[in-house]
Symmetry: D2
Subunit: 388 residues, 4 copies
């Protein structure tokens, strides 16, 4: 038996962080398709993010990507965000889009390049200081394409050194979120290919280093929810980069490719206490909207995460534990599936209405005319981002 009002409270409390780069043009190596009205600078990205928050009431935080979102005055940017009802979330360090990083950034064989990369990471901590961000999200594209290209162990040493230097620089309320990824853009080795590698480094660094799980960064067949449960048990889950995929790092809308997987992940989060703010689990989106309208795609993704969370909250944990302890495989599975098979959209509509929001966030957004307005206004300019 689950307590419906507790479920509603939990849903009301959940915060989903959206990425500034999700509002810009993105694509594959074959083509970046331009869309009308995409933001031309970080201020406009924040304005788009504010639309998502207005429609959902659940997305007050925005991740930045540096240097894509580089500005002169970060304190002013943060103040601008606050003015929109937003706050700055994770600072994502970008050490992959410079010709110097062809053979790696912090693990590059060339010490000059490594220095440059670490300096950028340190600069990102400065930006955290200026914006009030507490999370430094580190994803390294570093790796090799060919066997023999570089020394795998030496690269680990360089990585450890770089992380240690950055860790030292963190303020009291700041932390590292270390991301891992199986492959792409490197095709033979990645220097942080899996959660085990990220975990081992974080363990050595200390309590302010945690692992971030990007749901698109695993080998086929990997049981992501197991990793989530394991990291929560170890106190090392810093958060999620949500998106979805059928094949590789497809970066589709969260919950679109495998809603059952997203539910299973949220079930582990809920069961292991990960919804509680004090565990520090950040629920972030990290995705690309290559062919679909961007703001509605972000709204849909926020809704998908909410629906998966709602279903996870509806699991009858008493019945589940009883069936598990009795070794009744079918009954235990049925308890879980009961929650999954529930249509939670009415419940979420209720939560939204209770918060003074339109029960249908997509309709609310469409009614604003924002898409038409920005398409008309945002002409010219050049976006900083995603190969575009």
């Amino acid at each position: 038996m689950t307590d419906r009002s507790a479920v509603q409270d939990a849903l009301r409390a959940q915060r989903i962080e959206t990425p500034s780069w999700g509002y810009g043009n993105s694509g594959t190596r074959f083509k970046v398709f331009a869309q009308p009205g995409v933001p031309r600078d970080p201020y406009e990205k924040l304005a788009d993010a504010a639309q998502v928050h207005a429609a959902t009431g659940a997305a007050p935080k925005v991740s930045l990507h540096i240097p894509w979102d580089a500005v002169e005055d970060y304190a002013a940017l943060a103040a601008h965000a606050r003015g929109l009802g937003l706050e700055i979330g994770a600072i994502n360090a970008n050490v992959f889009q410079d010709d110097d990083y062809k053979l790696g950034s912090v693990t590059n064989p060339d010490p000059r390049v490594r220095r440059k990369a670490v300096d950028h990471l340190l600069e990102c901590v400065d930006i955290m200081d200026a914006t009030g961000s507490t999370d430094l999200k580190l994803w390294f594209s570093d790796g090799t394409n060919y066997p023999g290209q570089d020394d795998t162990s030496a690269r680990q040493d360089r990585l450890a050194d770089a992380l240690a230097e950055v860790y030292q620089r963190l303020g009291d309320d700041q932390r590292i979120l270390l991301e891992y990824k199986l492959f792409e853009p490197a095709f033979y080795t990645m220097d942080v290919p899996d959660w085990g590698t990220a975990y081992a480094h974080c363990l050595r660094l200390g309590p302010k280093a945690t692992v971030v799980v990007d749901t698109g960064h695993h080998a086929p067949g990997t049981n992501i929810e197991f990793i989530v449960a394991f990291l929560l048990r170890e106190g090392k889950l810093g958060g999620f980069d949500f998106n979805s995929r059928f094949y590789a790092d497809d970066d589709l809308m969260a919950g679109a490719a495998d809603p059952f997987q997203l539910f299973r992940i949220m079930h582990e989060v809920v069961k292991n206490g990960g919804l509680a703010p004090e565990t520090g689990v950040a629920f972030m989106l990290d995705q690309c909207h290559n062919i679909e309208a961007k703001i509605p795609a972000v709204i849909r993704s926020v809704m998908n995460v909410q629906e998966a969370t709602a279903k996870a909250l509806l699991v009858d944990t008493g019945a589940l534990t009883a069936a598990q302890d009795a070794g009744d495989v079918l009954a235990a599975n049925e308890v879980l599936m009961d929650a999954y098979n529930t249509d939670v959209r009415p419940l979420l509509a209720e939560v939204r209405a209770g918060a003074g929001l339109d029960p249908n966030p997509l309709a609310a957004y469409r009614a604003t005319g924002w898409a038409e307005q920005t398409a008309a206004e945002r002409v010219g300019g050049h976006q900083a981002g995603w190969g575009a």
Copy 2:
């Protein structure tokens, strides 16, 4: 027992086609790293290809990519190629790098876009007429990213219509090479995702339609050499797009990621007569040299294909068949591995020396000073290609 001089003859006769785009900058969605001296137009690409042919004696054909290699006068381009000792190979139709193709080219729901795409394909046949090319290579990026986005069956109908129109336009000595790919850039469905789909369409089209196998376009675990054997048995193998991969369509140098697989593929080719020119199997490279020097990478790839072919030619087919017929699993495997474990580099050095070439093509290329010369000369300009 294999006849060494017949092996040498076969190696001398093998032709490997190199791609014009392999000489230009390429990359991933994260970054295209620029290299010094890359060609600024199709003429310079041909000049680079001529270097590969000069060093290896095995690469007289060059595939073009339209519109990346669009010129005013294609007959002049072909004449220029001939002047360099080259000929124009497959014409690769590019219907993915235009904003119109966001939701597909020949399978786009919008008939206007489909018309535009088919017109481009027909234009490619015009270019074949002008250049003497006999092969129209068709790879479609068409597909969908989200369940429900479009009607899978309707897209097949549109694809069939487009192919039929192009097939009708082919001259007597011209053919279609239809490529398939599991995923990327589309992430939910691809309209030609596997060899079965390509095969079914080619069967319906007629004898001038054949399947091309890109070695990087399969699901994990797919046995590519089985497909090769099957298509050869059906008379439907048009050729290869060689490259190699560890994960997805990594487009690494052929033979670099899995030399044993390349050998097994060439074993099926050799065993089933696919080296004979009359079978029409085209041995093409289709790869990206994101971080390594491009011309030497193409040379190395040509050498890798040659080494795999040499090993395949060394298989003692009499002993193999005897062991297979006797059901002696270990003996049959050993016959194959004997050939694979042979160091064929001396044999290929001999073949090259016999043809008046440097036994070491990479050294020969380095000695030309071409890299330094083009780095100095080819300054400015803007490459047409690969998202760069």
Copy 3:
């Protein structure tokens, strides 16, 4: 807008065939766990199947596996089935559990073994004649474990010969359902590894040869619903072997591992007319219940297929087509997801109640006391089947 009573009619008409071997013990190579009350002969398997049909009203057909279900008098077995309200479904030829088949059955290098295998297939047609079965389901474990072990093309020739001989033997209302599988038990090549191979053979055989899609037999990342749509378009989809998997051929309960995939498959079936009896698409289960109670697991699987079908029937096809034609990616996806997110359990409860059944098939089964009764009665004996 969907017509609710038409949806109910379609659900009432759907027939799901259950496998005799699903009622017996099964396992992995590591261990077959015995369960109390499992059937000791084909008659007891039919009795169990009758329980599933009694509870669901949707499972009147039972597939047999020969020789696991070998009896003296097949006409008597069929009559017994009819007495239980059942009929004999597909006859599954088993040419993998004899020492002679170590290197293959119909593709074995030894002609004596091939003859034996083909004779078994012909005997299965005799059994079809005797039982009134119309479907010969052919899955071949044939393949090789090591490169070089046998000649891939020669094995295709042998396969084609065997299939042709069996095809000739078919009666007017009989057909072949040819199954494919990526790997296991062979680990290097399978002789029918993918749908393309099965399709090509069926095409050559003629209209009475069709492809069967086992949902657990694909490479990671394969889009199964694409294959379904393609085969339906070609008129070559004979049916399904439903089960589910996270990794390989896990043979879990249908719909348990990926309910969204099952829905997408059923969406293609519904959209392309595959529910209509005249298309001949057989909805069969083929799964193993290694650790869970078997009869309830089959009931749950039937329910899962029904729920996926119900959701597929609820798709608002008018709205879907409109959004697709407009190129509105998000709207089209939303139409599909609306159906998927609907809780269809009340709808199915209504359908069952309307047919005089308990709305909850699992509760109905539990109420019979069959599990306790058979556990007490079925003691001793030795099951013919699955390595047990």
Copy 4:
């Protein structure tokens, strides 16, 4: 430049441990094919292992599997082994072949079953004491098949408790080798699915707990040599279970499916000092010879590991490091490939001849007539093992 005599010394020193179960019948869930002359008890398995050691001079250690190799008097068994020139290697605890373990062994929800399983592990340490074995190899089939079936975190707690109890029981020179596996026989979660999980548990246990890498236990696309390098860097690589695979845990002969991968693994071992006895890296085989003759298959596997090691030893590390430091991707790759492309069979023949062995171990084995002799003598009896 590599020192040829140092290479020979290293090859002479390498020891490869063979598994007792590799000499017995094995198979898939579909069929275990019986072979003539397979051992009927542990003593006969040792006799077969002695043949492998006689032919190769490199396989003096034999892993046991308990209870498959259970005997009354383990000291006597060890003495018997010594009489054959062998010693007892790792003790493999088998907690998967008992009906009690249907829902797990050390992670079973039922405390009685957990107790039974831990007791078996402790008994295995007793056997280590009696036989002089230093290695307790732990592979747990534990996991779940269905979402919700059991509590993932609770199972980790149970696992940690069991490991801690066994760790306490270890003698001074004894250690745990903890194995991980992606899937099979459990199909939803495995309790130790990846190296990260095994590593985290070993870290907590202490210095006598290390990770063992089974080369067939990873998700598709996993870079195994990265894991090897990482674990060596952390001092946590206990050893290998060598075998090879194309798809899942195929358990083919080591080096048969992907000889280049085996070379890359051995390159990391050699480069990072893992050949030195003091690092304690055990080179074990763990494979099944389902269709090929078993003793020659083990000999071939030993040879394959030796050949991969020889190639790894031939890598010109000076040239490699220079090219790596210079960022010369192609040159660095070429150094590695030079070693791989070398035919090392003459070198190994020399090493064998120098040790008074036949340069061709397979011919040496065939000459003994052992296969014919055991086929005649070993009649009747029932093997304990692998589902047979």
